[in-house]
């Protein structure tokens, strides 16, 4: 067997998976998006741009997704970075593993159950009730964009912490000593050495969280109470409730396109920020 055949054989399972699970469904959705709604639900194949013309009707879903996904990603980053930094650089090695496990533990419980916990916390008898006691009245948290943001940050934090933790953990601590030796104060060492060398982790974490957030529907459904909905919720509605597959497909295709454009711009930005090509291609 030549090296070449062996390489192809090794790639075959992944390639087949990729075809079946990604390319084919995407193609089907793409074709459906030019169709029409069948009277009984489902789709009649055609070639019309009617569905795309109807997109403005779902503008709110796109608007919510495109604001809360970036804000959620950034907020998660701002909270995750100090946490990852503490775990990787400052934490006593003896406690490190335990602390890491504590970060993962919530992952073992279904997001559904954890969101219920938040419904209670943010609902009338939770935090607002506490605020009431100390004299701040009339605060409403549940079913607001804020509630959705809280849920997003909470749910996606581990996903952000881990890539950053890995890049900070493999950072050679002697580089920090070298920087200090050359006269840099600790915060300058952070800005000039630690932060640039953890950009691959930041980039990976943001990418992971952002892409998953664009397709999120559970958290807005539970904590947004039908008032704050994402494109994901629109898709659930169109495919499962109103059974308008053609329109749903047009919305889905638009979401994929928006995602591709954002990610491309994002990658460009990362290159500019100075991560080398290898760093980004890991993602």
């Amino acid at each position: 067997m030549t090296q070449r055949t062996r390489n192809w054989l090794l790639l075959a399972p992944a390639g087949a998976w990729f075809m079946v699970m990604l390319i084919i469904p995407l193609t089907v959705v793409f074709i459906f998006s030019f169709g029409e709604r069948a009277p009984s639900g489902g789709v009649v194949l055609a070639f019309t741009f009617e569905q795309y013309g109807n997109l403005p009707a779902r503008w709110a879903a796109f608007k919510n997704t495109m604001t809360l996904a970036p804000i959620g990603t950034l907020s998660a980053l701002l909270i995750a970075y100090p946490l990852a930094y503490f775990l990787a650089v400052k934490a006593n090695p003896k406690w490190k593993t335990i602390l890491l496990v504590l970060v993962i533990v919530p992952f073992w419980t279904s997001i559904l159950i954890r969101s219920y916990a938040w419904i209670f916390l943010l609902g009338g008898r939770g935090i607002p009730a506490l605020l009431d006691v100390i004299g701040i009245e009339g605060v409403r948290l549940i079913n607001t964009p804020f509630a959705v943001l809280v849920g997003i940050i909470y749910g996606y934090l581990p996903l952000m912490v881990f890539p950053i933790y890995v890049s900070l953990d493999k950072l050679d601590k002697r580089l920090l000593e070298a920087s200090s030796d050359l006269g840099a104060k600790s915060w300058k060492t952070f800005l000039q050495i630690t932060l640039p060398l953890s950009i691959p982790g930041i980039a990976t974490g943001c990418m992971l969280v952002f892409i998953l957030l664009m397709g999120e529907y559970l958290i807005p459904a539970m904590l947004g109470g039908g008032k704050v909905f994402f494109v994901g919720n629109a898709l659930v509605d169109l495919f499962l409730q109103s059974r308008n597959w053609a329109y749903g497909s047009a919305v889905a295709v638009t979401l994929v396109v928006v995602m591709l454009i954002t990610v491309t711009i994002y990658m460009r930005l990362i290159y500019r920020l100075g991560a080398s090509r290898e760093d980004v291609s890991i993602m």
């Binding site: 000593e177 070298a178 920087s179 030796d181 050359l182 300058k188």
Partner: protein, 373 residues
């Protein structure tokens, strides 16, 4: 040892002292990394810490750099006590064991890093100018835009060196800088480093476990063992007047004959070697009668001949080394030992062959009675 005879630890006379350790110890939990170090380093000298791996050399260097705070004792830099002064405030720079170059910067950016931290800021042009000059000093002209991973080990080492010397530190600390280089490159670098030190007049403190490296480069060597300083002195002093068996064995090679000190009155002391043979040799001050000692004689201080005074020995083996010939010989009480015979002696007399009987002798002053530690 250590700070016992202080005169020895003092820096050469007449020169300004840049750094001083006084009774410095460092514990990591229960582990004692260095214990009671006392020495002073004078301006412009090349001092080496020499000792086997794990003897505390790196720790001593890190204490000078400011990465470790000593558990006991005092660190003085430029006349000030700096025990807990942070590394970035010290006029000291270090070349790290695996260089610790910044991977996201070019060679020039690495080298200019120290200057960029200065406050008030230095003008960009001045930094660039100094970086180019330093690149030339370490013979890396033209490599300024290279990334670190695009450079060989030797080039990386030069970048590390340049990154440190550009700051004109009071003290340049080098932690086994040549350990990762191959033998030939190491020789070249040793010479270059020495040239550089003379040219710049910076005080160098080198850590190494390679005795050849320490002997060939240093003005003074500090021999360490298990966290303690055994002896400090110039290479010649350590070679000619080691204060213990450990030092004699670490600096060059020597023949050791174990025995018990029986007389220490005169210029020469007497040792009963292997409990039967009394031998005379010159002795240091602090040895007591009845103490376990050894006599150390360097192989090149011994002469083989056929007539005259001496001990009868048997030649076991002969190895021709060019400049010298090395004989392995055996004495019925002293056992096996080495004699190094210079080329002239070999020319004058016909060489000895394995199996020959010969007489061996030495100047009594060449034989040293040493503490058996």
């Amino acid at each position: 040892m250590g700070n016992g005879d202080y005169a020895q630890d003092a820096a050469p006379k007449g020169r300004k002292v840049v750094a001083e350790l006084r009774g410095v110890s460092k514990y990591f939990g229960e582990v004692c990394a260095v214990s009671d170090l006392s020495l002073s380093i004078s301006e412009g000298e090349f001092l080496s810490f020499l000792g086997p791996s794990g003897c505390g050399k790196t720790t001593a260097l890190r204490i000078l750099a400011g990465f470790e705070v000593p558990t006991e004792g005092v660190v003085i830099l430029d006349g000030d006590i700096v025990n807990s002064l942070e590394a970035h405030h010290r006029p000291v720079n270090m070349v790290f064991q695996q260089y610790a170059l910044f991977p996201h910067m070019t060679a020039a950016q690495n080298i200019g890093y120290g200057l960029r931290q200065r406050r008030p800021r230095l003008p960009r042009a001045e930094i660039a100018d100094k970086v180019y000059k330093t690149l030339d000093v370490v013979r890396l002209g033209g490599y300024e835009h290279r990334r670190i991973w695009e450079m060989s080990g030797g080039q990386q080492q030069r970048v590390a060196l340049a990154r440190a010397i550009i700051n004109e530190p009071k003290l340049l600390l080098l932690d086994e800088p040549m350990a990762a280089l191959d033998r030939k490159l190491r020789k070249e670098m040793q010479i270059e480093l020495q040239d550089l030190q003379r040219q710049l007049g910076i005080t160098f403190v080198l850590v190494t476990h390679d005795q050849e490296e320490a002997l060939s480069m240093s003005d003074r060597i500090c021999i360490m063992r298990e966290g303690c300083i055994m002896q400090i002195g110039s290479p010649q002093e350590l070679y000619d007047r080691p204060n213990s068996r450990y030092v004699a064995g670490f600096v060059g090679t020597s023949n050791f004959f174990d025995g018990i000190l029986t007389d220490n009155k005169g210029v020469l002391g007497t040792v009963r070697v292997n409990n039967e043979m009394p031998m005379q040799a010159s002795h240091g001050s602090d040895l007591a009668i009845g103490q376990d000692v050894c006599i150390s004689i360097r192989p090149e201080q011994m002469k083989l001949h056929r007539q005259g005074e001496g001990l009868w020995v048997k030649v076991l083996n002969r190895i021709f080394l060019g400049e010298h010939t090395e004989y392995l010989i055996n004495h019925e009480t002293l056992g096996d030992f080495l004699v190094l015979s210079p080329r002239q002696a070999e020319m004058a007399e016909s060489p000895f062959n394995p199996g020959d009987r010969a007489l061996v002798s030495w100047e009594p002053s060449a034989a040293l009675i040493l503490d058996n530690k």
